[in-house]
Amino acid sequence: MLNVFLTVIRRDLLVAFRRRAELMNPVLFYVIVTTLFPLGVSPDVHFLSQLAPGLVWVTTLLAALISVESIFRQDFEDGSIEQLFLSPHPISLLIFGKVVAHWLITGVPMLGIVPLMALLLHIPGQALPVLWVTILLGTPILSLVGAIGAALTAGLRGGGMLLGMLVLPLYIPVLIFASSAVSASMDGLAVSGQLAMLGAGLILALILAPFAISASLRISMG
């Protein structure tokens, strides 16, 4: 069973790396927003560092929303989603493999790029480890929760707007706890509460989301 799980991840990674232009979209979006923001609003160091935690996380959230829309779209278009449903393996395991691949493609590059962009927004060095941990805990939640909405809207034309309306309210707790952790860390306060909430959210999403995604896909197929 582990073999087929890894096979799904490997296939999705291979397909993604052969479509490099799409692969770079979330990272490019992130870089463009965080570099344009100081130019468009104010380059003042104090002002930027005040806004930075929220800005970093709003941008991360929107970048995730852009990428998650495509997680099942191609499978619906080329008919491979039906093939997953005919497999003897649990559909939730196969779908989980797809979400893991999606996180590896979109979340992991964020782990590299966000601390660099944070420096551009004058987040002090002492807060970078906490920022990195919030990205590590938060982006898998964004992928898992976003995939539920993507599964529900995969069969619809122009489902992007609906996806945003479905998913954004569910992203808000991640935004609140993650940006609050970074702000608290910048002020030298304890962050264990916020990180614990993010960790709990991740565990909950890991347990429940694969089943919710499978059920949503079945609804979309019918």
Partner: protein
């Protein structure tokens, strides 16, 4: 071969409504091992919808489908009996012929036998193109890749939606032989096609949707 002796697929009182349009109603039939159900009808008459209901991908508005006298939605092993090739072939354009078929083989529970996949690729006449991205193949060659998976999955029920689309005469002849061999092995064939399919007449049941 995963066929079961005297396996029966039965549909009773099927009705399908899409939006405000009723595609068909009160549809019933029985297909036994070694038989073919040929679904005919005009564009938009509900052929694909019927096939998707028979695979368990979607629910009928009314009626039920049973496999070995148990609802297909409750029968644990039913989906493992089906090989489905729809309009969209389930083939990834960004993977090579070999990569696609190896993935399909592993998805069906096999540990991955590359030599078997290569044999099948040779049989469908794509051995030279085995490392070519499917997106770079012609429409007919893409269809061959999709149909090749039937030989790898070893399943009892083949559900084929317009399988002959874009295929040349030579390959259609070979493919018809494959279908006949499948029926000889007590498999079940459910197929929609606008072209004539040469199969033994006594093994074919026809339903026409209007």
């Amino acid at each position: 071969m995963h066929t079961q002796a005297a396996s029966v697929l039965r549909a009773h009182g099927l009705k399908c409504v899409r939006g405000s349009t009723e595609l068909f109603s009160n549809l019933g039939f029985t297909i036994e091992s070694g038989e073919t159900l040929l679904v005919q009808g005009n564009n938009g008459s509900g052929k694909t919808s019927l096939l998707r209901i028979l695979c368990g991908f979607s629910y009928p508005s009314e009626g039920e489908v049973t496999w070995c006298d148990e609802s297909i939605y409750k029968h644990e092993g039913f989906r493992q009996q089906i090989s489905y090739v729809g309009h969209q072939s389930g083939v990834k354009l960004d993977l090579t012929v070999l990569e696609n078929l190896l993935f399909m083989q592993r998805l069906t529970g096999s540990d991955g036998n590359e030599s078997e996949v290569k044999e099948v690729v040779r049989a469908v006449g794509l051995f030279k193109q085995r490392d070519v991205l499917v997106g770079k193949l012609s429409a007919g060659q893409k269809r061959r890749v999709a149909l090749a998976k039937l030989q790898l999955e070893h399943r009892a029920i083949w559900v084929l939606d317009e399988p002959l689309t874009a295929l040349d005469k030579e390959f259609i002849g070979k493919f018809e032989l494959n279908l006949e061999n499948h029926l000889d092995r007590q498999g079940i064939l459910i197929v929609t096609t606008h072209r004539e399919l040469k199969l033994p007449e006594h093994r074919v049941k026809r339903i026409a949707l209007s």
